[in-house]
Subunit: 115 residues, 2 copies
């Protein structure tokens, strides 16, 4: 599939897809003339990348844990697994914080509802 199709399939702009490739997060074949050709599996990869971005991971951090995604259960993923666990912990802490904030907002809504 070409970049326009991938963009349509994932909702990610072609600009961003090229950026992801530049950051080493996705890969593509090239036609003889240089146009990118993506495997079908890249769709779910891009979706997952979006999810990680939305969770606040940087492209650098994501690149660090790619071995855990691409070749699970191999020795070469020691540092990758470390990054993965660290990001999970960071995410858990952030969720806890957001849940508390949600409570604060709901208190505020209640206090403003008795009008």
């Amino acid at each position: 599939m070409r970049i326009g199709e991938l963009a349509a399939a994932t909702g990610v702009s072609a600009r961003s897809l090229r950026y992801y490739e530049q950051q080493g997060l996705i890969s593509s074949e090239r036609t003889p003339s240089g146009q990118r050709i993506y495997a079908e599996s890249v769709v779910s990869r891009v979706t997952f990348l979006q999810r990680l971005f939305s969770a606040g991971l940087s492209s650098r951090t994501i690149r660090n844990l790619l071995p855990c995604i691409d070749t699970p259960s191999e020795e070469s993923t020691a540092a990758s697994l470390d990054t993965l666990v660290r990001e999970r912990d960071r995410l858990v802490a952030h969720i806890d914080d957001l849940v508390y904030t949600r409570g604060r907002l709901e208190q505020l809504i209640e206090a403003n509802l008795d009008s």
Copy 2:
């Protein structure tokens, strides 16, 4: 209290405190020479601001809901309350998304642990 003390008390840089004031999120008295003097109550305000920033609210959005914070239960907060509810909903959706992402990361950790 002066800006250095407020910075120490909140862990927010003086630079950021001046920025918050510029954005209309906090206010201060001034000494005749122009130095900022903060009320004690600004400490908790700044702490809450940090919380909202960390939840992804922009300073513009925060300013919109300040009426709900400063003068709860008044008519003038109709638009403010609307913003508040909208942000609460956005936050709830985001938390749900992050919880799902946490599950994905934990699946990934598990898949990489059987080495």
